[in-house]
């Protein structure tokens, strides 16, 4: 095998500490080395050109770049005329010359040991070819509320096919029933009508109402979805919307559309029908009703899925002290929308109305979160009351009024129009005389108790995740958070769920108002388009199962954070290249060490340990082998070098994608071949990029530590630490501490 080693002096910086020339001399003598080259500026155009020329002329099969951290100059070293998986980066700048700047002798020794093991690793690397796996350019949008409709329009108008499914007979969701939207106070019909006309005119959108997901199979880029559609019992083409069926139906079974609904055709809820009633069939002038119509099953294929399963209003009945359902004129804010829209109660005669905020929200026993919209909703409704008649007396009882950003303007407006805001929540509502509600409240600002009698109390109930979201949890395999909203990396990738090619829009992710729902729908649509474009080329480094070793214990299937594993045709586990996120948690957990990641196999780690010079610092110096998680710990170690923090050269770090990727057999081999301490450094608690990688790593280390105890070895020889990427000090301190401890423990008795 022809191997070239390129040592960079980083314009003399590395050479200031490390004796590069002696290393060049030494390495030239190693077997299989074709060329060892020293360069002052390897990442320069000249440097790259030199490597490319060598690869071409001498036919190098592996290239070792001993220079800076692999997180620098990724672009420059990615195309050397050699498959990029055959190029090995050895981080001698951050981990040797900078980290041990005060100890040149040992830094050189460590560099040599490092070169030796990464050389061995390179010998066992495999070339990998990127896969071409174009996605179907079609998406499924689940939920026909304002978020789902907007996501569909955005995806369709960029030329992709969209299937929009909705479990109710009409699109529009909850907002269709509202009186007005804030902050501009326009009626929902206005916005929805425009959206419906866009849907109608766009051939890319396929709307399936009265439909629900039956099953989902396949994987990202190519999902296969079975949809169940319940019968509408009314022929969409024939119906002329005369309304006669509605008039004759004795059972309230006709679901009649509002003026702007889509599709604007009634539906019959056969569950409410009486057998052999048939009154509607008889009266229909165009013969559009077919009560025997059966449900349909549809089968579609899509590349990506957008969840827009929305929300449900919180039911305040469990808060019995507010007497909802027991006292007259105690209504929820949703009911108040209806009252104001349909003018069921006239507010032209001045009335006294009290709003109670945070009913159910910010309540440990019900909705522990802030429902985001209720403050604005109550302010909107207060403004409505003041608009109908300025003499309406409006009270808002609140914990904290939350009107972020420009919504503050409406809050100010409500105050100026004479809404009375009182900080204090009433504890019990009573009805001393009919139609009146009286209660007493402690005004915590005034330090006084107020006794109040009103004509109506509106409970500002909050937003709770819809049952639809929960039902889909198993079908799609999405992860929900403790409140049953869709879990996501809320800061950086809010629209991504924890499954590839499944995105979320609107209230299924968190409580939000109409404008933010539409925003998030746009973001989800963009993510979908990005996915369509990006997945034409897929990195092939997903884990592979060695079926000669695999015993089908199914641990990988259980532990995979992304549920990427299923059985192949031979009955062995296989990771789905599209669902997998390359964390290696399966590789770390396999009891038979049968799983290897594309760029870092068990075999490579094993041979690295074979050639590792255990006494590179001398016989009595303890040796720590560290596995550093890519997202946090490795960055922190790089950061230490940058900030000039030093640590003992006894530590030796290898990058792994996640702390959970380190297999127990590797640790066992390390300990049993004389390494004094094994350290796994992962993300701080609950910040693991792969959900439970560091938790699993901790549990596995505990098992090994127990085993060491049984073997009468010190259980502290293996250890887990959490390092944030911005916490290099903690890293350096723990290494120093660990070296001291190991010195006290003495040499690993298994070292030969």
């Amino acid at each position: 095998m022809k191997i070239g080693i390129y040592l960079c002096t980083c314009e003399g910086e590395i050479e200031k500490v490390i004796d590069i020339d002696s290393l060049v001399k030494e390495a030239s003598g190693w077997s299989g080395i074709t060329d060892v080259h020293k360069d002052a500026f390897l990442c320069s155009e000249d440097g790259i050109r030199k490597i490319r020329k060598d690869v071409e002329s001498s036919g190098l099969e592996r290239v070792l770049i001993a220079a800076c951290s692999p997180f620098f100059k990724m672009e420059e070293f990615s195309d050397l005329g050699l498959n990029k998986y055959l190029v090995e980066r050895v981080n001698i700048r951050e981990q040797c010359s900078r980290a041990h700047r005060n100890d040149p002798e040992n830094a050189t020794k460590k560099t040599k040991a490092m070169l030796r093991i990464f050389l061995e690793k390179a010998k066992y690397s495999q070339p990998l070819q990127p896969l071409q796996l174009p996605s179907l350019r079609s998406a499924l949008v689940i939920g026909g509320g304002v978020a789902g409709i907007n996501a569909s329009i955005d995806i369709a108008e960029t030329g992709n096919e969209v299937f929009l499914i909705e479990k109710n007979p009409f699109l529009g969701g909850k907002v269709a029933g509202f009186h007005k939207y804030f902050p501009r106070m326009c009626p929902p019909s206005c916005g929805l009508e425009l959206m419906f006309s866009k849907i109608k005119s766009n051939p890319n959108v396929h709307v399936l109402t009265s439909s629900e997901i039956d099953t989902i199979s396949g994987s990202p880029c190519n999902f296969e979805i079975f949809i169940k559609t319940s019968p509408r019992h009314i022929d969409m083409d024939k119906c002329v919307l005369c309304g006669k069926c509605l008039e004759v139906c004795p059972h309230n079974a006709i679901v009649y559309p509002e003026g702007f609904s889509y599709p604007c055709i009634p539906a019959i809820n056969k569950g409410l029908c009486a057998v052999d009633c048939n009154k509607c069939v008889a009266v229909c002038p165009v013969d559009a009703i077919d009560l025997d119509e059966e449900g349909k099953a549809t089968n579609i294929k899509v590349g990506a899925i957008v969840l827009a399963t929305g929300w449900e209003p919180f039911d305040p009945t469990p808060l019995a002290e507010f007497g909802y359902g027991r006292l007259e004129n105690v209504v929820t804010n949703i009911e108040f929308e209806k009252i104001s829209k349909e003018k069921k109660i006239s507010f032209e005669e001045p009335k006294k109305v009290a709003f109670i905020q945070c009913v159910g929200s910010r309540d440990e026993r019900h909705l522990p979160y802030c429902s985001d919209v209720c403050c604005m909703v109550s302010i909107k409704q207060a403004l409505f009351l003041k608009e109908v008649n300025p003499d309406n007396e409006v009270y808002i009882f609140y914990n904290d009024i939350r009107t972020p950003g420009e919504y503050e303007e409406l809050y100010q407006k409500a105050r100026r129009r004479g809404t009375i805001f009182i900080k204090g929540i009433p504890s019990e509502l009573k009805q001393d005389e009919p139609q009146k509600i009286n209660f007493s409240v402690f005004d915590t600002v005034a330090g006084k108790r107020l006794d109040i009698t009103t004509d109506m109390v509106v409970l500002a109930t909050g937003i709770k995740p819809s049952q639809g979201t929960i039902d889909l949890k198993e079908k799609i395999g999405i992860v929900l958070n403790k409140n049953n909203f869709v879990e996501s990396h809320i800061q950086c990738y809010p629209q991504d769920t924890q499954r590839n090619a499944v995105f979320s829009a609107g209230c299924c992710r968190a409580p939000m108002d109409v404008s933010r729902s539409i925003e998030s729908a746009g973001a989800a649509a963009i993510k979908t388009l990005q996915f369509f474009n990006n997945c034409t080329e897929i990195t092939p480094d997903n884990p592979a199962v060695n079926i000669l070793k695999c015993d089908v214990c199914k641990r990988c299937i259980e532990e995979c954070p992304f549920k990427a594993y299923s059985f192949d045709e031979k009955g062995f586990p296989k990771s789905d290249i599209m669902k997998c996120r390359r964390c290696g948690v399966c590789m770390g957990g396999c009891p038979l060490a049968a799983i290897s990641l594309g760029g870092l196999s068990i075999e490579q780690l094993s041979v690295m340990l074979d050639v590792f010079d255990r006494s590179y610092l001398g016989e009595d110096e303890p040796l720590i082998l560290g596995f550093l998680c890519k997202n946090d710990a490795y960055r922190a170690v790089d950061d230490a070098a940058l900030k000039g923090i030093t640590y003992p050269p006894n530590f030796f770090g290898i990058m792994v994608p996640c702390a959970g990727a380190v297999n127990g057999a590797i640790i066992a081999k390390a300990i049993s071949t004389g390494i004094d301490g094994v350290l796994i450094a992962g993300c701080p608690d609950n910040q693991c990029h792969y959900i439970h990688g560091s938790t699993l790593a901790k549990a596995r280390l505990t098992d090994i530590s127990n085993k060491l105890k049984e073997m009468y070895l010190e259980p502290e020889r293996v250890r887990f630490i959490s390092i944030g990427r911005d916490d290099p000090e903690k890293f350096a301190d723990s290494i120093e501490e660990y070296v001291e401890e190991l010195k006290k423990m003495g040499r690993n008795p298994l070292r030969l």
């Binding site: 019995a320 002290e321 007497g323 027991r326 019990e428 009573k430 001393d432």
Partner: protein, 290 residues
């Protein structure tokens, strides 16, 4: 049906009619209430002095019932709340171990958490069940109307009591009284506290609390107030004259225990129900059903 009968401190001295009527009612319902002489104070008064001592006292009583192999039925809502709360605290194993260690030191048995604690009214509603009581009614009390005072500790704290009744809109004792044919009213200050616990420290507030309910029920003209706790009865009956004097009114509202009302409907005699000990005579009621 054998149960450890937890009388508490107030009932056997201050509420003899409650004890007599409960024992006789239990007899005709076929419930055996076993007296346990070892029971001590539940710990309620100690809770203001030392929480751990209070917990130990409650745990000791629970351990005694457990040793005898019987669940506890009590008549004082305060005692039941304290024992139920202690049960909830002692679900924590660490605390339980610690308490058991101390129990051992005073020569009591270990508490493991098996024993159940129920107020007699809750027991009748939940376990004995209304239909079985209905079968035993001989003289329906159709013409009577009562205002029920539950007593705060009867169902609160709800987590300790297992959420068996709704504190904002209680219904269990109403159910028991309605089964006798008598009417019960829903009134605005139904959930008001009797105030007895602060009689010694804030007498004025205590009396004003009691007065509010007495005033309302008197004005509504109910036949009597029905209670389920000796303390509440002391606040409303024993103190009725004092309370009246404080607010410048004269009350004459009979206060009955729920056991007396149910017993009356089951044909028990006035003597068996301890009516002689009623300070505000309920002759109007008893005469009707002689």
């Amino acid at each position: 049906m054998r149960y450890a009968f937890y009388l508490g401190c107030a009932t056997p001295v201050k509420a003899l009619k409650y004890e007599i009527s409960t024992r006789n009612l239990a007899k005709i319902l076929g419930i055996e209430l076993v007296d346990i002489p070892e029971f001590s104070c539940c710990g309620f008064p100690v809770k203001s002095m030392d929480s751990f001592a209070a917990l130990l006292m409650a745990a000791r009583n629970l351990a005694i019932a457990e040793e005898k192999g019987m669940d506890i039925i009590g008549v004082c809502t305060g005692c039941m709340a304290i024992l139920s709360e202690a049960k909830e605290y002692l679900e924590d194993e660490k605390l339980r171990d610690k308490v058991n260690e101390k129990l051992k030191a005073i020569g009591a048995k270990e508490y493991t958490g098996r024993v159940k604690v129920k107020h007699f009214a809750r027991f009748l509603y939940e376990d004995y069940r209304l239909d079985r009581i209905r079968d035993k009614i001989v003289t329906p009390l159709a013409s009577l109307e009562f205002g029920i005072h539950y007593g705060c500790h009867y169902m609160k704290p709800t987590h300790a009591h297992g959420h068996f009744d709704d504190p904002s809109n209680p219904f269990t004792i109403d159910g028991l009284i309605n089964i006798t044919g008598a009417k019960t009213i829903n009134y605005p200050n139904k959930n008001l506290c009797c105030g007895l616990t602060i009689m010694g420290t804030a007498e004025d507030i205590s009396f004003r609390l009691a007065a509010e309910k007495l005033e309302y029920l008197s004005s509504r003209g109910v036949d009597a107030m029905v209670v389920a706790c000796p303390s509440c009865c002391i606040a409303y009956e024993n103190n009725q004259k004092l309370v009246g004097k404080r607010v410048g009114k004269e009350f004459n509202l009979p206060v009955l225990y729920f056991t007396q009302v149910i017993g009356l409907a089951m044909g028990l005699s006035e003597k068996d129900l301890g009516f002689e000990f009623n300070r505000i005579k309920a002759d109007k009621i008893t005469e009707k059903f002689k």
